[in-house]
Each structure stands twice: as structure tokens, then as C-alpha cells.
């Protein structure tokens, strides 16, 4: 730390900003590449997209250079060259090239992780990628140079075109677009806005290749520009669309001559030829990409997928023909805009939340004061009315503020789904399986924190689905399934929860095989295995160390993944349920609370201490009739309206003395998360309240069963019970036993110590 004097808070802050900005750029690259990939499959390439990727990489290069991330800067530099070649048409956009670019995106992500966490940089992978990229640039070839000559263009004009403009000119001619010359005179004072206006008018009809001052017809105040535009529209259509006092449009005449019209550049309009002709001769080179031989089959598959799903995150573009009308198709449909508008530092939001919490405390205090004043009698009546009114107003404003802030925290799940689409593409290509990811409900909103934390668990589930679920092509055909597997990612809101389903149409899970594998790995004993219910058998896949594969693949089979996914989801207060039918497929269902911030709770008393139970998972509360409690396999069970309900005595679990008063007995708070129900026995029901939940400090992260704590307005704090975690702990003791062994063993004595300690507090 001696020489690190300059890297204080300011340095850290700058680095944080670098990381977040770079991360955003990398995410953007991934999105653009996916759109590009989808377009390529449909046979078209959007030059603007390539430009976006080029600009993104260029910015990354600058950023990383600035912050001394040399490996990242080096990678960006090489990529920039390739992308430049791509946008100038010196090399063609092929699936192989895209593979490299996708690889680069994931390497960027790893490099960023290395920057922020001292993890080792993926040195070798970067070297390999650079090598592949280098070979790529050597293979560059020119694309159809001669086509420009067929037009009557001023050699002077051609001479000043930039390489990019020249390439665009060529590409447009090859796509069969006609060229037009627009002469427009602008007033020098307003040229900026007028030119933008003209561009906006021209945009829907075609592409402006270049514009140059003519040097003629100009006086002191005006300037005449010659604008070269490529369009599929007729001259009269252009004249109708682009209007202005000093604008004239004319055709650029075509030269008639045998040499000037190469056969392949016949101006054929139509989707089929557009993709091939854009990138010039030799673009469709199957020999270079043997694995993508299945590619041509895909476009025909897409319309069906598109028809099924109202919102597809990964294929935001309309069908091929539509996009030919303009250079910039509806890319805005992608999720990008949404993610860019929520650039708020989560720490700032947390501070805001704290303020709201304080306000809530004041509110409670005012309510209490009002109550007290009112009870004292009629004398301070006016005061009480006034206070009551104050309280109502305050409450209303508070509610507005709360919902406003919650809204800021909410982001569409599409942010996480975007990354998954990339993963699906990568894994299915590596694995030589054709997988179609069908996304619905990408616009479902969840707390930003949850969305961020969700990407990894979802990734593990999708990997698992591709590796273990989806069968190889031949196997699928032999059982009469379509050769392309489908993974459906569905999200929807259900009451106070958001449900996310990951469903595949693969081979399903064989209960017997799962149990056999679990016994083989020593996760359950053969005796325990006998007693498992069907759903418990399926839940085995979430056990640490579980795998059915004898040999680990790159993708999965190492026995890590699903257990991590499950743990992470539990931390967010969610649960995972799993259903599977052999031969038909597997469905994992994640149920999550919408927000972690403000929740409605039931306050209960256990052993003279206050606790809060989130009402979202409470079904009802009933008085406990001890006479009706039965013991089944050392577990207390209550019969409620004909169904059995396991109960858990929280005082005992927490090591607190039970303290219920005479007159009314203890209560059972019936909680449900997902498909599981459990009754919590508490001493007293205190009331309901809206609370701002705050995390317990890192020092208490080993303590299970609490989601956080909240202030109650009279300086008291109540711990918020993590219903999902407790249900799991109580109902699945085997699992917790396993987890407990892995964690700090001292913690397990906590229950006993808590009672000893109670004296002092």
C-alpha cells in the first residue's frame, strides 16, 4: 500500500465508473452481435449494426487504455481492425466471424471480472483469439469493385469518397438499389437543422451515401450540397417525400455498355438475393463453416417461432423483406433502450430508500401521537383533527414516493434474458445441438438487484437443459421430435411474485437414474433413497455435488451449477420447483418476490421478541389447538381443513423461551412458498405494517433464516423472517444438513447460545 497513495477513494471511484461503463459497452456489443446473428440467419446484414459494434469496441479500446487495462486494450485494438474490415466489406460477415466476436464478448466479460476481483486474466484464451483474429484479417478479399463504374458518376466525386462511403456505394448498387442525385441549397445559418431534416426525410426511403458541397450556385449566405442517395424507390416517390424550396432530385444515369454490367450485379429486388449480394461474391462459403451447414434450415424455422411468441427478445427484427426498405430497421425494438434509461447507481437508490424508511418512521410516530391526543378527550380535539389530516396527507405523499422509487428500481427481465440468448447460441454451437430459445414476458419487471442476481442461476439452468435435456439431432428425429430443440424462457407476474419458467422439450429426467446417481455419489444412503417421494427425487439435482454424468463435459456434469443456482435464488427469497416427464421435457419454475425493498409484513411475537413475517407468503393465521397436533416421524403436524400442515415452533427453533399469555393460546401463521406450506407457531400476533427491509451486515451472513431487519418507529427493530429459507430448512432437513457441513460449523451452536445470551439484552 506504500506506493498506492494516489489510489485513494477517487481512484476507486474512477475505476468503478470504468468498470460499469465498460460492462455496459460489452453488454451492448453482445446485443448487437445477437441481432446481427439473427439477421445473418435470415440472410441480411445491417451495416449500421456493424458500425455500432465497431464504435463500441473503439470506445472500449480508449477506455481500457486510459485505465491501464492493457490486455483489454490490445484485444480491442485487434478487433477494431477486423471490424473495420467488416464494415468496409473487406471481409464478409460469416457465422465463423461472429463466433470470434461472440468469444471476444465473453472474454471482455472475464477481463472485466479480473479487473474488479483480482481473478487471473484469461491470458491464453486472449492469445488464441488474437491468433484467430489475425488469420481472419489475412483472408480478406475485395468485394465487387467494378459495379460502381456502371453509373455516370463524377470521377471527382468518386475520388473524394472515404473508403467506407465507397463500400456503402458498392454494396447498395449490388443490392440493386438505384442512385439519385439530390441538389439542395441551404442557408448557412440553418444548415445543421435543415440537413438533419432532409436526412430524416430521406432515411425511410434509402441511404445517403455521401454529400459534398458543389461549389457552384452559392452566394455568401448559402451553400449548395450534392447528396448521393441510394434508394429502391422511384424518382417520383423521392420527389414527393423529400421536399423543400431549394431541393432538386434526379436519377444518376446508368452507363450502357457491355463491360459495365457484370452479370451478378443484376438489380434483383427480393429477400433471397439480398443477403448474398450484400457481402459480394463468395460470401456464402459453406466450406469455411461446416458446422453451420444447418444454418439454411433455420430461416424456415423462424416464422413459426415468431408466430408463437408475442415478444421475442432475441429476434427483434421484422422479417427480412421489411428491413430492405431502409438501412436502419426497427432495432429500437430491442431491449437496449430500456437498459440505458435505468442507469442509476444502486447505492444512490439505497440511500433514497433509507430516507423513505425514515419518513415511514415519522409517519408511524405521528399516527401514534394522533391516537394519544384523541384519547385524552375533547379538549385538544382540533389538534387531533389537524394531526389526523396531516397524517393522511403525509401518508399519501409517502405512498407516492415509495412507488416512485420502486419504479426506478424495476427493470425488465429482458436485461438478464439478453445475456442468456448469447449463452444459448454459444453452448448449442459448441455442443452441435440446434436449440431455439423462445422468450416470453421479457418485459416483466423485477427489482434491479434481483434481475442482476438472476442471470447466473438462469444460465446454469439453461446449460443444464442443453447438456442434459435436449437430445442430439438424430436422437430427436428417431423419437419423432423436431430436430431443433426448444428452450422456453417464460416470465410472468403472479400476484406479488414473478414466476420464471425454464422449460425444455428434451428427454426429461428419469427418477430412477437420478436416485441411482445420488446413491452412487453418496448424497443419499440407499435406505434414505427408498423413502424419497417423486418430487424429492427430482430435487436431488439441486444437491451439491450431484451429477448423472460419469465424465464431466465443458458445459456441465461437474456437479456444480444447479445447487449454486438454487442457493442464489433462495438468497433472493425465491424458490425453485421442478417437474419432468421422461421423453417430453423438464420444467424448472422459479418463484420470486417482485421487490426486496418495501414489503407488507405481519408482526409476531416470539419469546418476547418481535419478528416480521412477509405477508406475501402468509396464507392465514389461526389459533393453535395443541390437542390437534399429531406427531408424524418426529415432525409436528396439524390438520387444517382436511389437509395436513407441518408446523414449526419458532421459539424452539430460535432458542427463545415461549411467552404466550393466558387467555389465548399461541398462533399458527400458515406460510406458503411455491408448492410448500408450513405453519409457524408464534406466541402473539401483533399487527400488520409496511416496512422497509434492510440487510443485516456481512458479519451476520452466516445466520440463516432472516431476510433482514426493519425499524418499527419506536426505536425497536424486528428481524424479518426468511420464509423460503425456513421452509426449506424445516421441510428438507437432509439438504440443510449438507449445507451446514460446508459452512462454518460453529454457527450451529447458535441456538443454545442465544438463550444463554438473552439475559443481557
Amino acid at each position: 500500500m506504500a506506493e498506492g497513495g494516489g489510489r485513494g477513494d477517487a481512484g476507486d471511484k474512477a475505476r468503478d465508473e470504468f468498470l460499469s461503463e465498460a460492462q455496459e459497452l460489452v453488454d451492448g456489443l453482445g446485443r448487437d452481435l445477437l441481432t446481427l446473428d439473427e439477421g445473418l440467419k435470415a440472410g441480411r446484414v445491417d451495416p449500421e449494426l456493424i458500425n455500432d459494434v465497431f464504435r463500441g469496441v473503439h470506445t472500449l479500446k480508449g477506455l481500457s487504455g486510459l485505465f491501464g487495462a492493457t490486455r483489454m486494450a490490445g484485444l480491442s485494438h485487434e478487433l477494431e481492425d477486423v471490424l473495420d474490415d467488416l464494415r468496409l466489406g473487406r471481409i464478409d460477415v460469416t457465422p465463423t466471424v461472429l463466433d470470434l466476436l461472440f468469444q471476444a464478448v465473453s472474454l471482455y466479460a472475464r477481463l472485466l471480472t479480473a479487473q474488479s476481483s483480482d481473478a487471473p486474466e484469461p491470458e491464453r484464451e486472449v492469445e488464441q483469439l488474437l491468433l484467430a483474429v489475425g488469420q481472419l484479417s489475412q483472408r480478406r478479399g475485395g468485394g465487387g469493385g467494378g459495379v460502381v463504374a456502371q453509373y455516370e458518376l463524377d470521377p471527382g466525386l468518386l475520388g473524394v469518397l472515404t473508403e467506407y462511403e465507397e463500400h456503402r456505394l458498392r454494396a447498395n448498387i449490388q443490392q440493386g438499389l438505384a442512385l439519385f442525385r439530390i441538389r439542395a441549397r441551404f442557408s448557412l445559418a440553418t444548415i445543421d437543422s435543415s440537413l438533419d431534416e432532409l436526412k430524416a426525410q430521406a432515411r425511410p426511403l434509402g441511404e445517403i451515401v455521401t454529400y459534398l458541397p458543389t461549389g457552384s450556385g452559392a452566394n455568401v449566405d448559402t451553400i449548395e450540397l450534392e447528396i448521393l442517395m441510394a434508394s429502391r424507390a422511384s424518382l417520383s416517390a423521392l420527389q414527393a417525400a423529400i421536399v423543400g424550396p431549394d431541393i432538386s432530385i434526379e436519377d444518376v444515369a446508368r452507363r450502357i455498355g457491355p463491360s459495365a454490367r457484370p452479370a451478378h450485379a443484376a438489380p434483383v429486388a427480393g429477400a433471397a438475393s439480398a443477403g448474398a449480394s450484400f457481402a459480394g461474391p463468395g460470401m456464402v462459403a459453406p466450406s469455411a463453416t461446416p458446422r453451420h451447414a444447418s444454418g439454411p434450415a433455420r430461416p424456415s424455422q423462424e416464422p413459426t417461432a415468431g408466430a408463437k411468441t408475442p415478444s421475442i427478445a432475441v429476434t427483434p427484427n421484422p422479417p427480412a423483406a421489411a428491413s430492405l426498405r431502409g438501412p436502419a430497421p426497427n432495432r429500437e425494438l430491442s431491449l437496449r433502450s430500456a437498459s440505458q434509461t435505468v442507469r442509476v447507481d444502486i447505492r444512490k437508490l439505497d440511500r433514497l430508500m433509507t430516507v423513505v424508511g425514515e419518513l415511514a418512521i415519522v409517519k408511524t410516530a405521528i399516527a401514534k401521537l394522533t391516537d394519544r391526543v384523541r384519547r385524552r378527550g375533547a379538549e385538544p380535539r382540533e389538534l387531533s383533527i389537524e394531526l389526523g389530516r396531516l397524517n393522511r396527507t403525509f401518508e399519501r405523499h409517502l405512498a407516492q414516493m415509495q412507488s416512485g422509487i420502486l419504479e426506478v428500481r424495476m427493470v425488465p427481465l429482458g436485461q438478464a434474458f439478453d445475456k442468456l440468448a448469447r449463452i444459448v447460441r454459444q453452448i448449442s454451437r459448441e455442443h452441435d445441438k440446434d436449440v431455439n430459445l423462445v422468450v416470453t414476458g421479457a418485459d416483466t419487471e423485477l427489482d434491479k438487484l434481483i434481475v442482476e442476481e438472476l442471470s447466473d442461476p438462469l444460465m446454469h439452468m439453461i446449460r443444464n437443459a442443453i447438456d442434459h435435456g435436449i437430445e442430439a439431432r438424430d436422437e430427436r428425429l428417431s423419437v419423432g421430435k423436431p430436430p431443433i430443440g426448444t428452450i422456453a424462457l417464460n416470465a410472468f407476474q403472479k400476484g406479488n411474485h414473478v414466476v420464471i419458467e425454464v422449460e425444455d422439450d428434451g428427454r426429461g429426467m428419469d427418477h430412477g437414474a437420478l436416485v441411482a446417481a445420488a446413491v452412487r455419489r453418496g448424497i443419499v444412503s440407499p435406505e434414505e433413497a427408498q423413502e424419497l417421494t417423486e418430487s424429492e427425487m427430482l430435487a436431488l439435482v439441486f444437491m451439491p455435488g450431484f451429477t448423472t454424468k460419469e465424465v464431466a463435459t465443458d458445459l456441465s456434469g461437474r456437479g456444480v451449477g444447479l445447487d449454486v443456482a438454487k442457493t442464489n435464488i433462495s438468497k433472493l427469497g425465491g424458490v425453485v420447483d421442478i417437474t419432468s416427464d421422461v421423453g417430453i421435457g423438464t420444467k424448472m419454475t422459479i418463484t420470486l418476490p417482485i421487490t426486496l425493498a418495501i414489503i407488507h409484513v405481519l408482526l409476531v411475537e416470539i419469546g418476547a421478541h418481535l419478528f416480521a413475517v412477509p405477508l406475501a407468503s402468509v396464507e392465514e393465521a389461526i389459533v393453535l389447538d395443541e390437542g390437534k397436533v399429531r406427531t408424524v416421524e418426529s415432525r409436528d403436524v396439524l390438520t387444517v381443513r382436511g389437509t395436513s400442515l407441518p408446523i414449526c415452533r419458532l421459539a424452539r427453533l430460535f432458542g427463545l423461551p415461549a411467552s404466550h399469555r393466558d387467555g389465548h393460546g399461541p398462533f399458527v401463521v400458515i406460510a406458503r412458498v411455491g408448492a410448500r406450506r408450513l405453519g409457524f407457531v408464534v406466541d402473539e400476533l401483533v399487527g400488520q405494517q409496511d416496512i422497509v427491509i434492510k440487510p443485516l451486515g456481512k458479519s451476520l451472513k452466516g445466520v440463516r433464516g432472516f431476510a433482514g431487519a426493519t425499524e418499527l418507529g419506536d426505536q425497536r427493530i424486528a428481524l424479518v423472517i426468511d420464509v423460503a429459507a425456513l421452509i426449506e430448512e424445516v421441510l428438507l432437513p437432509g439438504e440443510v444438513r449438507f449445507l451446514a457441513a460446508a459452512e462454518d460449523s460453529g454457527r450451529r451452536n447458535g441456538t443454545l447460545e442465544a438463550s444463554r445470551r438473552a439475559g443481557r439484552t
Binding site: 451476520l700 432472516f706 428481524l719
Partner: protein, 163 residues
């Protein structure tokens, strides 16, 4: 005259120390001993508010308190150092400590005494106590300005990282 000589020496040491680097320590009492932590690591000194018990937490954790809307875990330093327990009284204080672990933690102490500015020659290494010392003992402070005061200097990180 030994006292005169001692005083001159002390004054000289102080002067030398003032030109050198001095570190400020906050001294507090714990079961009859005086401990001290670098004051740079103490954000605030609080009178103990009511605690909220955290069931199943480690035994050194007294509970959580709210400090201006933030939850803070409070550790009982007596329990942490396996000293005999004592009731919280008027003089008890909570030191809000942050030693770069990314979390502020409250440390319950018997009382807060004063701030000492110690030069490096006023600090003896922990091994003067002989043999292996607990990792949280950074050394022994012997301020020359006092008569025979002995401060047990604490390294906060080990204390905070494994409550």
C-alpha cells in the same frame, strides 16, 4: 537526580516524536484493562441504544442496533476476548468501527477514556508479552507522557472479520 534525568529524557523523546510520525489511539476500558484502537478506524462513539437479539448468531454478537437508519451489528468485546461478563451501565459505550472490511461494526466497551498520540518508539511489539499472541493484539502502547499507563493496542481487522 533520576527524576530530573527522566523528565529531560521524556521531553526529548516527545520532541523527537513530534517531528516523527505519531498515530492517534482511542483508549477504552475492558474488564479493568486499558485497550486502544487507531482512532482513524472509529467512526463514532455511541451510548448503547436498545439491542435487538439475533437468534442463531455467534455468541459474541450482542444484537443489532439502528444508527440513523442503518443496521449495525454489535459485538460484545468482553465476550469476544473471553473476559468475564458485565452488565451495561451508564459508562458503557459502543465504538462504531470500520477497519476497511466494508462494514461498520459496533464494539461494546466498558468505558471510553482518552486519545493518545503515540510515536513508534512508544509502541512495543506484541511479542514482549512472550510467545504467540492472538492476531488482534498489535502491540503494547507505553505513552511517555503518562506515568506508567499501558495500552493493549488492538488490530481491528481480525476482530471484525471473525466476530
Amino acid at each position: 537526580m533520576p527524576t530530573l534525568k527522566g523528565r529531560t529524557e521524556r521531553r526529548a523523546a516527545r520532541r523527537a516524536g513530534e517531528t516523527g510520525k505519531r498515530v492517534e489511539y482511542l483508549a477504552f476500558g475492558l474488564a479493568g484493562e486499558t485497550y486502544a484502537v487507531q482512532i482513524a478506524h472509529v467512526a463514532e462513539i455511541l451510548r448503547p441504544p436498545p439491542f435487538t437479539l439475533v437468534p442463531r448468531a455467534s455468541e459474541t454478537v450482542l444484537g443489532v442496533i439502528s444508527v440513523r437508519g442503518k443496521l449495525v451489528t454489535v459485538i460484545d468485546l468482553r465476550r469476544r476476548f473471553r473476559l468475564p461478563p458485565a452488565a451495561i451501565d451508564r459508562k458503557s459505550r459502543i465504538l462504531l468501527a470500520d477497519a476497511g472490511t466494508g462494514e461498520q461494526i459496533g464494539l461494546l466497551v466498558d468505558d471510553v477514556q482518552q486519545v493518545w498520540r503515540l510515536a513508534s518508539e512508544e509502541i512495543e511489539p506484541a511479542n514482549v508479552l512472550g510467545g504467540e499472541q492472538a492476531p488482534h493484539i498489535a502491540g503494547i502502547g507505553r505513552p511517555t507522557a503518562s506515568d506508567g499507563a499501558m495500552l493493549i493496542l488492538l488490530e481491528l481487522r481480525p476482530v471484525l472479520e471473525s466476530p
